[in-house]
Amino acid sequence: MTIIAYKGSLRRKVMFLVLASTFTALFVAAAALVAYEIVIYRNALRSDLITQANILSHASAPALAFDDRKAATANLALLRSRPDILAAALYTARGAVFATYVQDTGGKTFPLLPEPDGYVIAGDSAQLFHRVVDNSEVLGTLYLRARYQLRDRLVDYLAILLGVIGASLLITALLSRNLRSAVTDPILSVAAAAHDVIQNRDFSARVKRTTDDEVGVLVDAFNAMLVEVGGRATELETSNRNLQHEMAERRAAEAALRIADRRKDEFLATLAHELRNPLAPIANALVILRTPNVPQSVAEQARAMMERQMRQLVRLVDDLLDISRITTDRLVLKRQVAALADVIRNAVETARPVMDARRHELAVQLPDHVVHVDADPTRLAQVFSNLLNNAAKYTEPGGHILIDARLQGTDVIVEVRDDGIGIADEMLPSVFEMFVQVDTSLERSQSGLGVGLSLARRLVEMHGGKLEAHSAGLGHGSVFSVRLPVVVPERNEGAAVPALARVHGLPLYRILLVDDNVDFVTSMGALLGALGHQVRIVHDGPEALLLAADFHPQFVFLDIGLPGMDGYQVARRLRESPGTRDAILVAVTGWGQEKDRQRAKEAGFDQHLVKPVEFSTIQQLFKALAPRT
């Protein structure tokens, strides 16, 4: 870019500036020196010649006066010590040549006649005529010619000056090369940063301030500008992103609205059909009933059909009402501790007619012992019956349906399995949405409003549970599983329900509880049972021995203070019996002194617990003591 091109230019300009000013100063100084030298040289030469002439004429005056040419010539010959004086001559007052001197190297000699006094520069020589006067009497004239070396001197002088200027410029250039970086570098770094900003759009770049002069101010201003521009760019980007995000959300919302609208339209059409459907058979039945002399069996058939269709209608309307209630938060669960088996039984009874009509084979599997849930029994039964109805609807006549309840940790899982048409993978996520039907091509008799599963899931979620659908794909049947938390009926305040939350993955045991405190032993039994253990409860020693013979418990919790036969005796008898010889015996007692523990140990107890016994203590016990059988 152009900035790069300018990079060298600024340096060159600074260099040029320095060199130009140096050169100008030196040139002016040199010119002044030369001019001065010219003037000085001319004046010096002239005054030198005049002085020389004065001395010579004074010295030569006697020779002229007394006509002594020899002396005069000898006088002039003294000029030999002045090589710049080329020639000299003395003329008598009458103008005749009296004595002469010519330097060996001198070219021109001397004029034959004297001229008036004066100093003349002619070419490369300067000549002077000087009257020799003594006692105000003119004795003659002295002529001097000297070498006028101005040009040579000027050449020397100019050579020296050129040398000085050259050397000065060289030194200046070297110095300014180092010094200019102090001036140009900060500016160049600003330029480089500007270039980076333009090319990379990176506003986070900053120029380091190195000087306190105007360039420093420039750097500060530049940085501030970058901050400002960077801030604005970021702001703009952010608002752009927000805008895009909002737009996407709005589009999604619009699409969702359109879909919901379409579903509602479909739903209304379906609803009309569904409501209309039972009405035709009912109308037919009414016609039959009105007809006189209808055989009793036919009338009965018609009435049954009317009842069925009515039930269907009522169910539809009820479902709709429930959905509406849930949607508007008006559905209130009447929760209570309910036995799961009862709820399932009710649901099966409700769904039975449909399954029977399609000759489905229904199997029910329940846990061995009673499992309780905190639920509205009617609504929960509605969930299961909806699932069973759904299974019946999508399973060919003669198919198999299984409802299976089992414990998993602190939850109970109720699965409704069928070997029906199954669900395609892509449909799985949406089967619980309202008004969605897996197969819209189904015959009318099988169709529904698409509210059953949606309602079921909502109800399960209101119970704090989860409803999920699984399928191995179309034609492989489907599984709907309901997961609900198990509760223990609170018959005793000692029952530590929260502790249940920590029970996971423990092996299950056969446990015998022996205590005459009915409340304590019942609640403990319920807790252990809820965990899946097989629990038997008795209230005295003989009963315990009798039961243990058949039950073969792995753990026996014995109260010491039993009526009739005390805990120690029971323990000894259990140890003697082959079925319970290896059972883990735990003493549960109010006496916790060392002698009591010792006595329990002697009686054959493995462990000694002091009342009140925490449920967690028993769990730890299970972990600590390995089962022997």
Partner: protein
């Protein structure tokens, strides 16, 4: 400045040239030399009555020379002093002269006159071959037909005058010690 000085000098130079243009006989040359000697010799201040007192040239035994000298010095000065020429008849008149030219006289008279002149502080100029030996300060010679002169510094000292180095420089011979 030099120009102006030269102009004024030129005028007097022309004048001088016209006077020196006379036939350069031996007598004329000697007369001119005699006059010029005045410029190169310093007399003690006591030799004059005052600063403006004239320089007196006595001529003994050479009346023609005296006339020629009188013509030559007409109107001329040496410094501020006018120059007078006196024709002397005998040595008694030597006193009062500053320079005494002794023409052709018998040797004893010449010696007498030189002795008197010395006593009177007058510089003696002779033109005999052994002039200096007789005690004269300056003695004319003829060398290659040109008029030259010799000087005795001892005689000058005895006369209590000082002869300038310039004059000594152009003398044909300078006698320093006693002869």
């Amino acid at each position: 400045m030099l120009g102006i000085a030269s102009a004024s000098v030129l005028v007097s130079a022309a004048e001088a040239v016209s006077q020196l243009d006379a036939p350069a006989t031996e007598g004329t040359v000697k007369a001119a030399f005699l006059y010029k000697f005045l410029s190169y010799i310093d007399w003690p201040a006591a030799a004059f009555d005052g600063p403006d007192s004239p320089l007196v040239m006595g001529v003994l035994g050479a009346d023609q020379m005296a006339d020629e000298l009188a013509d030559l010095v007409q109107g001329r000065t040496v410094g501020r002093r006018r120059v007078q020429v006196r024709k002397l008849q005998d040595r008694s008149a030597v006193s009062g002269s500053h320079l005494l030219f002794i023409g052709a006289l018998p040797t004893e008279r010449t010696v007498q006159a030189i002795r008197d002149a010395k006593a009177a502080g007058a510089v003696t100029v002779t033109e005999v071959p052994a002039g200096l030996a007789l005690g004269s300060v300056i003695n004319f010679l003829l060398v290659d037909d040109r008029v030259r002169f010799e000087i005795s510094r001892e005689a000058a000292e005895q006369t209590r005058v000082s002869v300038s180095s310039g004059l000594l420089g152009v003398a044909y011979r300078v006698q320093s010690g006693r002869p």
